[in-house]
């Protein structure tokens, strides 16, 4: 089933490009470690989900590009066309010449309603192209004006007009030391509106991805393109085709729906984090081998200690060994900065994936008292390797990871408001 992506603002459009590029490159990769027929099924599934087909065979991304300035969109369109392997639809973009001045209200109350019809028309055309439609990705940043304000407005409209379709917002959490003065206002306004109209908010933290680029990928001069590529890699490792649970002969038809059903059915807990191992520069990759046991051990500790990457993990944080008394557990966990999860989804891709042991994630100590691990934890395993990594694992988690950053943003916003 197909997903239509709405790319909003500078951030959304630049990231959107990297996502489609990563998805298509991986689907065409010859290092999938599987037979030709398997690879073709994988490719077909990825293509049907994210691209539509034109007569001369060049896949067209199922995307709508929206920005209030023309520069980034035209750059994005030409980068895609230059790749030669895919492109955006000719009439799939909407832009103005004014910009939003990092003003959330300008995006939400002025630009949104003014251009509502044009934008929703573009989206409708893209949805009509899908034979079977599962839902939307909305890629936006929280700190700026266009992505955040128009993003909130568009998501609300999608809720009204496509109430049965799923909506996942890919939210870019700004740098803690970001340069937009009103970014905390923008963030809070965005989150509060999105919580009502979106089904899932998948948060990508700029700080975390930046550290991954610096420490793990050894990139000296980190550009936005590097950051966006890591982000795209993380998203790709979640949404590329995976086997369905019932039969290992078919790729899952609706990964977005299955993911949402596993992780965000509770209306008050919609925020998700994403953590991916391993991350390595291409040069180092040739000299490294991984075991599932090692990868999963790191991933589990990253979850528990709320680490964002596999370096510098605090191994002292452990699940409490005390009994099932939930109050006792909570206070102990607070002291140890233990990250309790509501639900987790682990997706494994690559060689010998059937032998990977995920028992460590089924420990009841990781989860809240009102949801047992059998309901809270799911694992998807696929033989086909992802993007040059012989083994890769990604964890999408509904947990307490954002409590601190959120507190910080709210605190700063109040301070600014009160001063």
């Amino acid at each position: 089933m197909s997903i239509v992506t709405v790319q909003l603002g500078q951030c959304g459009n630049q990231i959107g490009f990297e996502v489609f590029d990563a998805l298509l490159s991986d689907s065409h990769s010859s290092q999938g470690l599987c037979c030709k027929r398997e690879n073709e099924a994988y490719q077909a599934s990825c293509k049907e989900r994210f691209f539509s087909e034109e007569e001369n065979g060049v896949p067209i991304a199922r995307a709508v590009l929206v920005d209030m300035e023309p520069k980034v969109i035209s750059q994005t369109l030409s980068k895609a066309a230059q790749s030669g392997r895919w492109k955006y639809g000719q009439h799939a973009c909407f832009c103005q010449k004014q910009g939003s001045g990092n003003n959330w209200a300008y995006g939400y109350s002025v630009h949104g309603p003014r251009h509502e019809e044009s934008i929703m028309n573009l989206i409708r055309k893209e949805v009509e192209k899908c034979d079977s439609f599962s839902g939307f990705f909305i890629i936006m940043s929280m700190a700026g004006g266009t992505g955040s304000g128009i993003g909130a407005f568009v998501t609300q409209n999608l809720q009204d007009q496509y109430s049965n379709s799923l909506k996942m917002n890919q939210i870019i959490w700004p740098y803690g030391t970001g340069e937009v003065i009103v970014q905390n206002y923008n963030s809070i306004l965005t989150l509060s509106h999105l919580y009502r109209s979106s089904d899932a908010l998948l948060v990508h933290e700029n700080d975390a991805v930046h550290k991954i680029c610096a420490k793990l990928m050894n990139i000296k001069q980190i550009s936005f393109s590097d950051i966006n590529q890591v982000l795209a890699h993380q998203l790709g490792s979640v949404f590329q085709p995976t086997y369905s649970a019932e039969s290992s002969f078919h790729y899952r038809r609706n990964p977005l729906g299955d993911l949402m059903e596993h992780l965000v059915p509770h209306p008050e807990f919609k925020m998700l984090s994403i953590r991916n191992v391993p991350h390595m520069s291409e040069n180092s990759l040739a000299y490294s081998t991984f075991t599932w046991a090692g990868l999963l051990k790191h991933l589990r500790q990253m979850l528990i200690s709320n680490a964002k990457m596999e370096e510098g993990i605090d191994w002292h944080v452990r699940p409490s060994l005390s009994g099932p008394s939930s109050l006792g557990k909570m206070s102990l966990n607070k002291d140890l900065h233990f990250n309790t999860s509501i639900a987790n989804l682990v997706i494994l891709r690559g060689k010998d994936v059937q032998s990977a042991d995920v028992e460590g994630f089924k420990d009841p100590a990781l989860y809240t008292s009102w949801l047992e691990p059998v309901n809270a934890f799911n694992v998807w395993k696929t033989q086909r390797a992802f993007s040059k990594y012989e083994k890769s694992a990604v964890l999408v988690s509904n947990s307490q990871f954002l409590v601190k950053p959120l507190d910080m943003i709210v605190g700063k916003a109040w301070n600014m408001f009160a001063s």
């Binding site: 049965n164 609706n254 729906g257 949402m260 059903e261 209306p267």
Partner: protein, 344 residues
């Protein structure tokens, strides 16, 4: 004349019709027609000598067309090429042993207070399933309308073939007169070696080759299995002992033996008709003669109906259990107002 060249090309071309065909130049089409007719053994030389620009030779082309029509059921062959495969196929699976266990039963708390957050969680899951159901129905509508359009095209083609069959006797009467007006071909035609197409005969020689290949493959597989078994046993020996381990081992062995037995039953030819598996085409037959792997529709319908009855009974039982559970929960939390779904 051009139209006749194109028609002959379309008939002789092995590819299904597509936009690509329309773009091939007339000369290329004509040359392909000539070589195809030659390889099929068309006796008249005059056609091979026709100019390829479509300026003359309509009578020769007409004769070639009627030669093809006389040889085989051309319209029916072309219909079979462009047959819409959907709508007359169904997948059948009678393999019971290999059937999956289905989704695991949802974990039900035996007793004790139920956290309202857990209930909210379950409600959310239900809501998602509901939305997915709606999306699936929309998908079904879109695909059905596509199917309808394709079927309409096909029925138009079928009607055209029927019209042709009705008018056919007139065509042959006319072609007799056309042939009559032709000058008889020079007997020199016999001296030209006719290039008869080489039809590969699937004689016993081929079969033997295949049998030998399969035997070699079986040998290789057996060796590979043996190697793997040895390696696994070496590994398993180092895995330690203990009651849990041997119990687990026993369980594994039992499951594997069960699956292996099922697989062997599927492959055994002499244990009666193998359970049907895979796509079957729905064909209407008057004589009631059934082939080896054919199934009677009536029988299948009966089996499916009984399976449906069983599943419905299970569904009703589960619904009853759910209703009882809901009633119990409603009683257990007096402060809450429960609005049950409309009964059926």
């Amino acid at each position: 004349t051009c139209a006749l060249w194109q028609l002959l090309f379309r008939v002789l071309s092995p590819l299904p019709a597509g936009n690509a065909l329309a773009s091939i130049a007339l000369e290329v089409q004509a040359r392909l027609v000539k070589s195809a007719l030659c390889s099929q053994g068309y006796p008249r030389l005059a056609l091979a000598q026709l100019p390829e620009d479509g300026s003359q030779g309509s009578r020769e082309l007409l004769l070639a067309l009627s030669w093809l029509l006389a040889r085989g059921p051309v319209p029916e062959q072309m219909l079979a090429q462009t047959r819409v495969p959907l709508g007359d196929e169904m997948t059948v699976c009678q393999c019971e042993a290999l059937a999956s266990l289905g989704p695991p039963a949802p974990h039900m708390e035996a007793e004790g207070p139920v956290d309202v957050r857990h209930v909210q969680w379950l409600m959310g899951k239900l809501r998602f399933r509901w939305r997915q159901l709606v999306s699936s129905q929309q998908e079904q509508c879109a695909l059905l309308s596509k199917l309808l359009r394709t079927l309409e095209h096909e029925s138009r083609r079928l009607e055209a073939v029927l019209a042709w069959r009705r008018a056919e006797p007139v065509f042959w009467q006319w072609m007799d007169t056309v042939l009559g007006t032709c000058a008889p071909e020079a007997p020199a035609a016999a001296s030209q070696p006719t290039f008869l197409p080489w039809v590969p005969e699937c004689g016993d020689g081929e079969l033997e080759l295949v049998v030998r290949e399969l035997q070699t493959l079986e040998e290789e597989l057996r060796e590979a299995v043996e190697r793997r078994r040895v390696a696994w046993e070496a590994k398993a020996r180092g895995c330690g002992r203990g009651p849990e381990w041997s119990a687990a081992r026993r369980a594994f062995r039992e499951t594997v033996e069960k699956e292996l037995g099922a697989l062997q039953r599927c492959w055994e030819q002499d244990s009666g008709p193998a359970p049907a598996h895979g796509p079957h085409r729905l064909v209407r037959r008057e004589d009631g003669a059934a082939g080896d792997r054919d199934l009677q529709a009536a029988e299948l319908i009966r089996t499916l109906r009984s399976q449906e009855a069983c599943l419905e009974a299970v569904l009703r039982q589960l619904q009853g259990q759910c209703r009882q559970e809901l009633a119990r929960l409603a009683g257990a939390l007096p402060g809450l107002i429960w609005i049950p779904p409309p009964g059926r």
